[in-house]
């Protein structure tokens, strides 16, 4: 678990000489300095930025219409003039669909983690801060969700709700709430027992301001780092649900769904069929590397 940022001097011995109140700014300067030196993380951050930009600006970048089919161009191989990445099983331009596909794939991968972070943080703060029975009730409920392998829980909920982008986001959100709640709860419980919280309470601070000023600041770093490590899994799972026919619905361009519909073509035009997976791989890998780099730079241990 992370050291509470407000209560420790971080890193270099020089920190001991500066007054305590400037230490938060010193911390973020240190983080930025460490990140600048970490070339590998910067490379993957750049790669991720490119993926995002290509998805956002898809309508301006794409050479063709993502929905325009052409029976003549079905499964055109990679490198054909006019079709740099080939064409899919309905003759749609692969490059165009990859660019557009990033929009849904990124949304379906990232939004569940964002939702779950907000919900899990609130639940974890309540459980950790108030302890006792409230803690019991919330954490035991989370234990039940922990009793499912995450893939299975996502498939169970999405399978019952049926296909659709919203249903995928809902089911993945449910999957990620318990781990985030657990992390938040354990950090909050530890912070709550520290002297500086007790001191603040003694000076008359109410529960809300205690949470906002003293607990949240210390909880946020480890929780955000942990949440960032979930994005990679979320991207793979969201595309995986589409791959099973549970996420995005045809003819929407989405990487997992594209893999699914191209699966039958692997004996005809194998290398066109694997192209969407490259995008899922690059995105998930970048998020993993970025999360690792951030954890290192922020000196957060779990």
């Amino acid at each position: 678990m992370a050291e509470p940022t407000g209560a420790t001097a971080l890193g270099t011995p020089a920190d001991d000489t500066v007054p305590r109140r400037t230490s938060p700014r010193g911390y973020w300067t240190n983080v930025a300095k460490r990140l600048r030196r970490d070339k590998l993380t910067l490379f993957f951050a750049l790669l991720l930025a490119l993926v995002f930009l290509s998805a956002i600006f898809a309508p301006w970048l794409a050479p063709a219409d993502p929905y325009a089919t052409s029976m003549l161009k079905r499964l055109t191989p990679i490198g054909t003039p006019g079709y740099p990445l080939g064409a899919d099983e309905l003759g749609r331009d692969m490059l165009t669909r990859l660019l557009y596909g990033g929009r849904l794939s990124l949304l379906m991968g990232i939004l569940p983690v964002v939702n779950a972070t907000v919900a899990g943080c609130i639940l974890g703060l309540i459980a950790g801060f108030f302890g006792g029975r409230v803690n019991m009730a919330i954490m035991r409920a989370m234990d039940v969700f922990y009793a499912f392998p995450s893939v299975l829980l996502a498939i169970a909920i999405a399978g019952a709700l049926g296909a659709g982008v919203v249903n995928t986001i809902v089911s993945l959100t449910v999957v990620f709430i318990p781990p985030i709640t657990r992390i938040t709860e354990s950090v909050t419980t530890r912070i709550r027992k520290q002297d500086f919280v007790e001191a603040a309470r003694a000076t008359g601070a109410g529960n809300l301001s205690l949470i906002r000023v003293h607990v949240l600041g210390n909880v946020l770093a480890p929780v955000l780092i942990y949440a960032s490590s979930l994005v990679s899994i979320s991207i793979i799972l969201a595309a995986g649900l589409s791959f099973l026919g549970l996420g995005a619905t045809p003819p929407e361009p989405e990487w997992g769904l594209m893999l699914n519909t191209l699966r039958d073509a692997i004996f005809v035009s194998p290398w066109v069929a694997v192209v969407p997976g490259v995008m899922i791989f690059i995105t998930s890998m970048s998020f993993n590397m970025l999360s690792d780099g951030l954890r290192h730079a922020m000196d957060v241990r779990m």
């Binding site: 009793a147 499912f148 392998p149 399978g159 019952a160 890998m285």
Partner: protein
């Protein structure tokens, strides 16, 4: 110890009950009348009403849950809508096939992960550590269903070495331990082993690196112990953590094999789940998920007990 085992068993009961509640409610979060999934759309309303009474669906939801739980505990998982056969019967063979795949994937992934993670943690920061870490990150980042497709393209389509799908020649699902059948197992097992390999590597690496930094390692070396003996001490200390992550991953393999089974048309629980999803066969979906998650609860229980036996300091509620 005995008291702990009993306590841990008792604790698993409410968890299992909670799991049952979630699985029961799957049918109720599904859009539409739960009965509409059971009967064809053109069934006369008198038949629908009779079925509603027979299934107890005219009663309040808690009463329905108790009825369902009673049926489930007696081994009646309902009837598959698609095939009309009892779900429990359909599941038996599928569970065996999934177990076969999961165990083979474990036999590839776990030793590899322990080896890579151990070496990386021991040589913390050196080149070999970076290679092992990079392998592990790639392993956890790769969409395994896509990796499966890649392997099929390389080894089945291009090289024509291994079969692309099924678990036996001609799509038969009868298993026997000979090369014609084992050939079918290679690609799915390798594909499925990649994620646990990556996760085990990362956990073991972190644990070993942490132990290597502890004072007792320094002390062992200072008193002149041979390095091979030091390694033995480190391994012993890392074992409980390694075991915990392996146990969890074994459970994940059972549930996580669905995508791999779909790619390779492996006739296990995952393939069955996929069929249930496509045909919106809710009883089949419910039954499969129930069996798999109960397996997972059981595996977790065994891991906790084993872990405590290895390291009594870990005794938790």
């Amino acid at each position: 110890m005995t008291a702990y085992v009993i306590r841990r068993f008792l604790y698993a009961i409410p968890i299992a009950l909670g799991v049952a509640v979630i699985i029961f409610s799957l049918v109720h979060i599904a859009p539409g009348d739960p009965l509409s999934a059971l009967v064809p759309a053109d069934a006369p309303s008198s038949v629908v009403e009779r079925l509603r009474r027979d299934y107890g669906m005219d009663r309040p939801v808690p009463a329905q849950f108790v009825l369902w739980l009673g049926r489930t505990l007696s081994g009646d998982l309902g009837v598959s809508i698609a095939t009309g056969r009892p779900v429990a019967g359909e599941l038996t063979r599928a569970v065996a096939n999934t177990l076969l795949l999961a165990v083979c994937a474990s036999l590839i992934g776990f030793p590899l992960g322990i080896l890579l993670g151990g070496v990386a943690g021991y040589f913390n920061g050196r080149a070999i550590d970076r290679i092992a870490t990079a392998t592990a990150i790639t392993g956890v980042s790769v969409p395994h269903y896509w990796l499966g497709m890649l392997l099929v393209i390389v080894f089945s389509v291009e090289l024509n070495l291994l079969p692309a799908m099924g678990m036996g020649p001609g799509g038969s699902s009868a298993w026997s331990w000979d090369w014609t059948h084992l050939r079918h197992l290679v690609l799915p097992a390798v594909t499925l082993s990649v994620i646990p390999m990556g996760i085990v590597t990362r956990t073991v690496r972190a644990t070993v690196a942490e132990i290597m930094n502890e004072d007792f390692v320094e002390a062992l070396r200072a008193k002149g112990m041979r390095e091979s003996q030091v390694v033995r001490h480190v391994a012993k200390n890392a074992a409980p953590t390694a075991l915990a992550v392996i146990g969890l991953q074994l459970g994940y393999l059972l549930g996580g094999s669905i995508l791999v089974e779909v790619v390779f048309a492996w006739p296990g629980t995952g393939f069955m789940l996929n069929t249930a999803i496509i045909r919106r066969d809710l009883p089949l979906l419910q039954g499969t998920i129930l069996v798999l998650s109960m397996f997972f609860v059981l595996v977790n229980l065994l891991v906790d007990i084993l872990q405590t036996m290895l390291d009594p300091r870990m005794q938790r509620a």
